[in-house]
Amino acid sequence: MTTTATPLDVVALREDFPILARTVREGKRLVYLDSGATSQRPTQVLDAERRFLETSNAAVHRGAHQLAEEATDAYESARARIADFIGATPDELVFTKNATEGVNLVAYAMGNAATAGPEAARFLVGPGDEILITEMEHHANLVPWQQLCLRTGATLRWFGVTDEGRLDLSTLDELVTPRTKVIAFTHQSNVLGTVNPVAELVAAARRVGALTVLDACQSVPHSKVDFHALGVDFAVFSGHKMLAPSGIGVLYGRRELLEALPPFLTGGSMIEMVHMAKSTFAPPPQRFEAGVPMTSQAIGLGAAVDYLSAVGMDRVAAHEHLLTEAALAGLGEIRGVRIIGPTSAVDRGGAVSFDIEGVHAHDAGQVLDSLGIAVRVGHHCAWPLHRRLGVQASVRASFYLYNDLDEVTALLDGVREAQRFFGAG
């Protein structure tokens, strides 16, 4: 990661985020360090959604009147801009309600291959087949695969995690075999910050003909990601983590795969012909968008992508890198604080989780909250990872383009205050 991009003007940028001007807990300035859970929304995104609703709102792909035309255009234009943002073509991009639905879509559609036509044969899974994940997955990229295995009789296997919080690839040759049907893994851990070696995993998957599913929830919002360049087969991410509305996510799938993949949710707008006894289905992406979609939310995500592009993803990444380095250095100096994940900012994004000896994460979070600092406490939907690393719950600070170094300092002061309050450290 180079940091040669022009630095962000965070002061100016924060003006775009009305919520950041509020105070919490008896007049404390809000220090929002929980963007890993959900990000805040700039006025530009809020305005885009509202403008659409006040001028062109209608059901998309279903009407022939002017509003319906305008709505469909706005929706499809958003799809095209988002596709461009992630190095994909519009027909490779399916709107879901969140990333979780995206993973479930792939897992259920693979299950549906058992009762679909021969073109879906490559998605078949059953006894003897293996689904390979990692021990650092968010529950969203873990439980759906457990359930697919339960339904089909396939076996779940996983890569371990090193003590430093890196993927343990020493077992690669043992785990990736002709039985492997899917390798599903996170691009960037929402707990550790660890960025995984996508190229290596994609290459391994290709050697055995396995499909790759990338959880890009924590990468797409924070750096330039190009799915075609990465070569993954499927990928998912959520709008709400990248300045966009809640209720919208994306499933990316390579065109030829989406074309062969059986449907998941069925209903209106995803059909070709419907008879009482049997239906046929539309080509992708429509095949995977049953019902009236998240129209204004897609438009909001389009506006978010425009906003991020205008700022520049390289600058966003460089800025977060700076904050992460400062946080890692600062936390490293506090006695009794253990960083969960890599302690250097190499191949590492801006989620910084840590454990404070003698202060439970929930209690530390409460002290920070009383100072106006919003962090996440718990296992951050990565319970097996916490178990592996021997922490029950951790505190996570996560950064985004609107955070600054003063906020990192506030975090460090807050951690010391938590230690003082609980007589620890």
Partner: protein, 147 residues
């Protein structure tokens, strides 16, 4: 008035007096196409004679635009070489996707130029292309069957 711009006299004429309508034998391949949003459908047959489109016949149910554009299609392609027919196909598809920004070439599209106004209404583009997609598909099937 907008409506007349879209529904040119030529279109209404073809709608009321369609050319080449009715399914005919012999044929090499048939294609059935449907517009999933409105249920409009067309069944279209193609008879090739070497490299020549010897006959195109069709039947279907649909709006004025889909019926008229299929009627125009038969005028344009019957008797032409497959290559010429596909040149017209490409020109017609390009016109329909132009959102009213293209000046159609009458030499290539003849009556088909009347559909320029339709291209401004994206929801109707599928209607205009229904028969054309059936034609493309039927030719591909004919060639597939012969190969």
């Amino acid at each position: 008035m907008q409506l007349q711009q879209m529904y040119q006299e030529i279109i209404l004429d073809h709608y009321k007096n369609p050319h080449g309508r009715g399914l005919r034998d012999p044929y090499d391949a048939e294609s059935f196409q449907v517009n999933p949003t409105c249920g409009d459908e067309v069944t279209l047959r193609v008879k090739l004679d070497g490299e020549t489109v010897a006959d195109v016949s069709y039947d279907g149910q649909g709006c004025s635009i889909s019926q008229a554009s299929t009627s125009v299609l038969t005028d344009l392609v019957i008797g032409k070489s497959v290559g010429e027919a596909f040149k017209k196909f490409d020109a017609f598809v390009e016109l329909m996707q132009s959102r009213g920004t293209l000046e159609p070439d009458e030499d290539v599209l003849e009556d088909g130029i009347a559909f320029a106004g339709v291209s401004k209404y994206p929801a109707r583009v599928k209607c205009a292309l229904l028969g054309w997609m059936a034609f493309k598909d039927a030719v591909a099937r004919s060639e597939g069957a012969k190969a």
